[in-house]
Symmetry: C2
Subunit: 108 residues, 2 copies
DNA sequence: CTCGTTGCTACATTTAATGTAGCGATACGC
DNA sequence: GCGTATCGCTACATTAAATGTAGCAACGAG
């Protein structure tokens, strides 16, 4: 009996509730997803540069996440490499405050 | 050769860069973590109620995440069940805009 | 043609998550 | 006292996901 699987959007769990936030939280709550968006914040990176930026994460999972993020419309492959779409930049900005928060959190 | 493992804070990867945001992104980028914080947004839940809210996620992983989130100082176990700490509520608020964004995203 | 880099994939190994069951502790009514 | 119901939490076998290594085809530069 699959648990989170039956998604209405391919590969995105939690969609069955009809609450988009669940699908989004599920997508972002996969390993490296947040990190990828974060690393692309200042401009496009080639897939290999991105891999380096992501602590040499395995190309397998990086590719998987890149595909998911592309299907979600957050990133795109341009001639400069992978970059955030307008939507992706919007997404990034919604958790920009996280950076400031992380600084305070680390000092707790 | 362990990849993300050598954390300075137990169980939190990405800390070696010294950038707190990496440790935070890593912690939040684990399955169910974001969801748990989300589900506790309106008040404490017992572990079983939380499990129900989280689509019957397995108690094993829920317990793991709850422990991690407690060590991170985001949640605590009170007499009402698990609830967000002051820090946890702060964290939640940093990605509150995500909800509004998710609505727009789902209509793309 | 050769060399280097791109995006991307195969595949075996290792790690994480799932699903089911059940523990001890606490609190109820009986 | 005796059920019995819930709490937080754990054991453990199964299944799914991530890792690490290697290498592909395609393109451009020299």
């Amino acid at each position: 009996m699959p648990k989170q699987v039956p998604a209405t959007r391919p590969g995105v769990r939690g969609s069955r509730s009809g609450r988009p936030i669940m699908a989004l939280l599920d997508l972002l709550g996969r390993r490296w997803t947040l990190r990828i968006v974060w690393e692309l914040r200042e401009g496009a990176l080639t897939s290999r540069a991105l891999r380096t930026a992501c602590d040499e994460a395995s190309p397998t999972i990086l590719q998987t996440r890149l595909t998911e993020l592309r299907e979600a419309g957050f990133i795109e492959l341009t001639e400069d490499g992978y970059g955030l779409t307008a939507l992706g930049r919007e997404l990034f900005q919604t958790f920009t405050p996280l950076n400031r928060f992380a600084e305070r959190w680390s000092k707790r």
